[in-house]
Symmetry: T
Amino acid sequence: MTYGEDRIYKKVEIIGVSKSGFEDAIQVAIAKAHKSLEAISWFEVMEMRGHVDTDGRVCEYQVVIKVAFQLK
Amino acid sequence: MTYGEDRIYKKVEIIGVSKSGFEDAIQVAIAKAHKSLEAISWFEVMEMRGHVDTDGRVCEYQVVIKVAFQLK
Amino acid sequence: MTYGEDRIYKKVEIIGVSKSGFEDAIQVAIAKAHKSLEAISWFEVMEMRGHVDTDGRVCEYQVVIKVAFQLK
Amino acid sequence: MTYGEDRIYKKVEIIGVSKSGFEDAIQVAIAKAHKSLEAISWFEVMEMRGHVDTDGRVCEYQVVIKVAFQLK
Amino acid sequence: MTYGEDRIYKKVEIIGVSKSGFEDAIQVAIAKAHKSLEAISWFEVMEMRGHVDTDGRVCEYQVVIKVAFQLK
Amino acid sequence: MTYGEDRIYKKVEIIGVSKSGFEDAIQVAIAKAHKSLEAISWFEVMEMRGHVDTDGRVCEYQVVIKVAFQLK
Amino acid sequence: MTYGEDRIYKKVEIIGVSKSGFEDAIQVAIAKAHKSLEAISWFEVMEMRGHVDTDGRVCEYQVVIKVAFQLK
Amino acid sequence: MTYGEDRIYKKVEIIGVSKSGFEDAIQVAIAKAHKSLEAISWFEVMEMRGHVDTDGRVCEYQVVIKVAFQLK
Amino acid sequence: MTYGEDRIYKKVEIIGVSKSGFEDAIQVAIAKAHKSLEAISWFEVMEMRGHVDTDGRVCEYQVVIKVAFQLK
Amino acid sequence: MTYGEDRIYKKVEIIGVSKSGFEDAIQVAIAKAHKSLEAISWFEVMEMRGHVDTDGRVCEYQVVIKVAFQLK
Amino acid sequence: MTYGEDRIYKKVEIIGVSKSGFEDAIQVAIAKAHKSLEAISWFEVMEMRGHVDTDGRVCEYQVVIKVAFQLK
Amino acid sequence: MTYGEDRIYKKVEIIGVSKSGFEDAIQVAIAKAHKSLEAISWFEVMEMRGHVDTDGRVCEYQVVIKVAFQLK
């Protein structure tokens, strides 16, 4: 990539879920998107949420991210 | 679905239009997305707008929603 | 298009980059999306950014837009 | 209207109230604005609120909208 | 209530769910809050969402509202 | 006014300026709007700003408010 | 309180009303909440509004605040 | 204008449209508002959008602005 | 829970503090709320902040969350 | 200053604290910034908060403002 | 720069003014900041405003941007 | 510090980058700011982003924070 060159990126909104934490949930989402969509360049966190089990423990972390990749 | 399991969802932004009301516009958008994209799990309303005819009557309701579905 | 008719649009978020200015960056993004995605109807500007070279000159304009097209 | 032609619209913020629901409140506001202001082209919903009576029933729906019309 | 008199209100955030539509979901939430919390004076819609069944039909409407009541 | 009755309000955005403080700036704006527009029912504060003189003293308070009045 | 110690606070949204000004409306709300809820630690202003009488005078100031207190 | 003097401004939301670019669309809106409303002092850009023709070219730029003028 | 069934949830805003990180601060808040309020179903992160000691080390993580539970 | 002349301003975010009220807290912050930074031209209020003592009285007002000054 | 390497950037908010347009106003601000602050890497547009002369012509464009540079 | 005492803080926006996670990126930014700017009192997270390498792994975490310190 050279700065100033005409180019275009696309951003897609995905949600990753993991029981291990927010960073793991991001990695889960990106690994999957990387395979099925396109080679991701960067991500931006939009929302962080989670589910709580009946014992009052966080049993999963959910993270809404936007991932961006270059359209070639 | 089991809580805590690694998984990923995608959110897509669509606009439904109907002359009958906002809930009908949502259903129009989801029915169409359900066929052409993927099996939708949930939706979130982003914007509600509409068009007015020359007699001052709302002639169509437009609703911008995000729909989410699991990537398998 | 007739007002009141059931229909549905999709919005996609893309980023155009150009060394010539924001309007050129928009046109770059739309021209590309128009070919690879669908016939775009309209766009909405979400963010405007840019890169600066070591001489303190803006060397590229980046514009995040949402483009909308009808799903048929 | 031809695309690309120079023109200008004005947006005005109004609140419609009705006991029958949000869509009715929108129609109440637009019908009135259509007569006293100008021929409205479109509206955008900004806020939705309501009043509750002493029996716990919604007794009126209030909707804040922006209406737009062309300045000729 | 006389304007200008010292007084205080409390706002509580609740979510109503109904299969019949957003206004019904609001009424469900308010009827319940009216009994278990306090006599509600007004509500403000914060978010509108819903669930979609496997046939692509909206099977429930969810509405996040804030309800307000006077603290006496 | 009876709750549930069809009615419509208009909101107008004005800026009041006073050297005495924000509440005075609000009163300045409302007194003037009350005469030249319509009988104002309520106001909502949107932004608060001010100007500083060369001695580092606030020399005027500026407050952007929306005022609402019933359209009859 | 020692920094780094596990602890938890709750935030509650209340509205204070006074004819004397916004700071008085805050004090009205906090004095009342302090008695009926818990010992308040801090507050954050969310919205400022007011009512106008038929002579065009602000007759009451309304301030929406969040108050926070430690859960012990 | 002297700082500290009581005065009041009004803000009006308008949309300018031009095929030549965003700055031209702003000028179109302001020139028109300047004649039909009042002598405008300043403007603030709220939204930037545009229409795309069937060849994938931006055929008009739309800019939503607020214009402010002093009420005398 | 069956989709489509009438039901209602409440959301409460709490702040968890921990010296070990944001996820730990969330767990601290939820464990406490789970006992003193109700069985929490899910949480949403609103704000993330922290305190820094005089050596420039983060000595506590503070996280503002909304927790939701069903009102039965 | 002449309109149209090339020039540049800087905005800095500061927090003023006073036991006497929000306007006093603004003046405290500006007086200090005026000396240690640059001659301030204007300010914009971003947030208003405060601390409450154990008797339920506001014991200090905190106001987050942005101050702007010309870079010469 | 190598990805993954520990590093830190600072963002500063500045306002550029030019009679020639928004992109020129950005360049004015960046050229000046580049000299007096640090070598700027990128910018983000926050607000776009302008002043109008008594003939209804935009006589200056004002653009609020954040500029970022690496702290070494 | 005594509550109620006149004082002033400054907030500065910085970006920390680390390959190890968001909390590490915050610590990187604060450690550096603590040395080159002033003794930081607290921080607030504004944005969380990251870069992805060609294998679909997050190779760096970027966190935009505001840090605050007292001006003495």
